[in-house]
């Protein structure tokens, strides 16, 4: 067992532990915060694997953007601070069974598949930004351009679903959708 193995196993344990807390915690905000730990530990694993560009993108986009978006989502759906009941559905035993079966299948297959696979880390590094840029803008340029269209489409879609038409002053009513008497308690 090399030092890299030991560090990776530690990071893997952190990743898995915080991931389990994400899916079991009873507090919505804590789930988002544990998600930060998971993503951070994964970014550290990528650094260990010398994929530095991917690691920093992971930090910037996952920790920086996705988690913030999720926190906004939690806030806007008026989740209570503290414990909330009913985050888990009734089919938890089924979910545990399916997840255990998935884990057993995947672990068996990958252990059998990569028993002999070792890698010498570090020299040369596997993913500097220079290498990644050269590869993206030559081999993968078409999917990259299509990806920009995907972002545009997602942007427009989100705007369509969220933006209220701006109406001339005086015509719009004061009714606010979230203040209807149904009450936020169920969220």
């Amino acid at each position: 067992m090399t030092p890299a193995d030991v560090v990776f196993l530690f990071l893997g344990a952190v990743t898995l532990g915080s991931a389990v807390l994400v899916v079991t915690t009873r507090q919505l905000v804590h789930a988002a915060l544990w998600l930060v730990v998971t993503f951070g530990a994964l970014a550290a694993s990528y650094l260990l694997l010398t994929a530095e560009f991917v690691a920093w993108v992971q930090v910037l986009i996952y920790v920086g953007a996705v988690v913030v978006l999720l926190l906004f989502g939690i806030m806007l759906t008026r989740a209570p601070i503290g414990r909330s009941e009913g985050l888990d559905s009734a089919n938890r035993p089924v979910a545990i069974a399916v997840a255990a079966a998935t884990a057993a299948l995947l672990v068996t297959v990958v252990v059998a598949g990569f028993r002999e696979a070792y890698v010498e880390l570090g020299d040369p590094p596997a993913g500097t930004s220079g290498q990644m840029g050269a590869s993206i803008f030559r081999t993968w340029v078409l999917p990259f351009e299509v990806l920009s269209l995907l972002l545009l489409a997602a942007l427009i879609g989100a705007i369509v679903l969220s933006r209220r038409e701006i109406q001339p002053p005086g015509e719009s009513s004061d009714e606010r959708p979230t203040e209807r008497p149904t009450g936020p308690g169920r969220g």
């Binding site: 999917p143 995907l150 009513s173």
Partner: protein, 518 residues
């Protein structure tokens, strides 16, 4: 690699064959033009600009596809395969998108299918105001074009990375479009949530499959995967797991059992023109991608995947046909019928021969046009609350409006596979290919479930023609030019492919003859 070498290789520009990519470039260009129209054209004039722009653009894309006929080439640095089957599938998708766009463009304030202001809450003052003003959410056009562009790229993708990007480009706009129905908005939004969550779940499996295949083959190019498959020894469980997960993602998109649970809900909840688009174009695109993955990437291990596909095909045909019998909603019934038809097409896919490929292509054309036509009829049968989708409301429609009921009955007979319709020719072609490929038991199951399916199609015809009309039943809206044209195209193609199928069969055979480029 030192930095100087890197700089040299980075300067070298990628080689892009713009001519061969023209169909999807035109469609993506249309989407962007649509966004610009949203930005700069006054609100009232937008629909009038969007509709002709979309239709002319799609026609141009179709011409561009036809001009590429005979190409057999890997384009765009290996990302896209341009070959006979792909061009045939792309042409089919563009033609079906054109007919669906006719339905989407149906914009009289009383019959538009789309919401006036998606962000408003049903029942509030704001919503009433925007409804009275006759507003419609015109972003539907660019979103549709983004989705169609993704569908064109999906079956052409020559590596799994491009295929995944295309999958997401076609899915994300569809999630939004599903939630934009003008009537029964809560149902529509529920459909959007379900489609989104299940879609995201299934694409995670698709990706895990890609990772496993990558770990096995060392590349995500289909041609190199094929190479690794042919040299494989010992380590095949990894490959099988990868293919199974990859297949799950693709089978989810085309709604094969057991990955079909979203389909009835989404087809019912989505605006009917979008249902027509999904029922035709998305299914064609997903089959195109499945064919390419199975024939190009994993053709060397067909003895491994065929038993699984047999099981999926049998389940899909039988469950689709049986569950459809109990449905009381027209759109749900058509959704289950679409599931059953996916099973019939899979029998052609399993044949894994040039004959299987050409019969699959023909079936997709025949089924696609009949589907669009049938959903066009569904948009016409309306009452005060919008479309009357419950089957009991259709009772006696044949007496009130014989022409519309007659055309719908014709489409149903085509779905059932009655001779002189395209459905018969298509089923005959795929079953013949399956028998030639040694899958006779599969064909027997297929014929039996066709018989079951025929039962519920005929039941709808009986309800329409042999029961008394409901006094306050739905009226049939006089079809406008656009919807009328969509129905007419559906009828014409269904009839021509049933009576004179030979030219189309030859075209499909020619397209399939060269198989997929590697």
């Amino acid at each position: 690699m030192n930095s100087q070498l890197l700089a040299q290789s980075a300067v070298q520009a990628p080689h892009i064959e713009y001519g061969q990519l023209a169909p999807m470039l035109i469609v993506f260009g249309l989407a962007i033009a649509g966004v610009l129209v949203e930005a700069f054209v006054p609100r009232r004039a937008r629909s009038a600009v969007h509709a002709p722009l979309t239709l002319v653009g799609l026609a141009a894309a179709f011409v561009a596809t036809v001009l590429q006929a005979g190409t057999h080439h890997v384009a765009a640095e290996g990302a896209v395969g341009v070959d006979g089957p792909t061009l045939f599938i792309q042409g089919t998708i563009i033609a079906l998108a054109f007919v669906s766009s006719l339905l989407i463009a149906e914009r009289r304030p009383d019959t538009s299918a789309f919401v006036s202001d998606a962000a408003s809450v049903p029942g509030t003052q704001e919503e009433r105001e925007s409804l009275v003003a006759g507003d419609v959410q015109t972003e539907v056009y660019p979103l549709t074009m983004f989705a169609v562009g993704g569908m064109l790229l999906f079956p052409a993708a020559n590596d799994l990375l491009t295929m995944f990007v295309a999958l997401e480009v076609l899915s994300l706009p569809l999630y939004v479009l599903c939630g934009l129905a003008r009537r029964r908005r809560l149902l529509s939004q529920e459909a959007a949530v379900k489609y989104f969550l299940l879609g995201a779940f299934s694409s995670a499996f698709f990706l895990y499959g890609i990772a496993m295949v990558y770990g096995f083959a060392g590349s995500i190019r289909l041609s190199e995967i094929a190479l690794a498959v042919s040299h494989s020894g010992g380590n095949e469980t990894l490959l099988l797991l990868g293919l199974a997960l990859l297949g799950m993602g693709l089978l989810f998109k085309l709604g094969a059992v057991p990955f079909h649970s979203w389909k009835p809900d989404v087809y019912q909840g989505a605006p009917t023109p979008i249902t027509a688009l999904m029922g035709s174009c998305t299914v064609v695109a997903a089959f195109g991608a499945l064919l390419r993955v199975l024939y190009v990437g994993f053709g060397g291990m067909q003895w491994d995947w065929r038993p699984f596909m047999w099981g999926i095909a049998i389940l899909t045909m039988v469950i689709g046909a049986i569950v459809a019998i109990t449905q009381a909603d027209v759109k749900r019934m058509l959704a289950y019928s679409s599931i059953a038809h996916a099973g019939f097409v899979l029998t052609g896919v399993i044949a894994s021969s040039s004959q299987g490929l050409s019969s699959t292509l023909f079936y997709l054309v025949a089924y696609g046009f009949t589907t669009v036509g049938a959903f066009a009829i569904v948009t016409l049968v309306r009452d005060a609350a919008g479309e009357a989708n419950h089957l009991s409301r259709w009772a006696g429609l044949g007496r009130r409006s014989p022409l519309v009921a007659g055309i719908f009955a014709f489409f149903l007979l085509a779905f059932a596979g009655i001779p002189l319709t395209s459905g018969f020719t298509g089923k005959f072609a795929v079953f013949a290919a399956a028998v030639a490929g040694g899958a006779t038991p599969l064909v027997i199951v297929g014929v039996l479930s066709s018989a079951v399916a025929a039962f519920f199609y005929v039941r709808v015809i009986v309800v329409m023609f042999f029961s008394d009309p409901n006094p306050d039943g739905p009226t049939v809206a006089a079809p406008s030019l656009l919807t009328g044209a969509a129905v007419a195209v559906g009828v014409a193609v269904t009839l021509v492919l049933g009576v004179l199928p030979q030219p189309a069969l030859d075209l499909a055979a020619n397209a399939a003859a060269g198989l997929f480029v590697r």
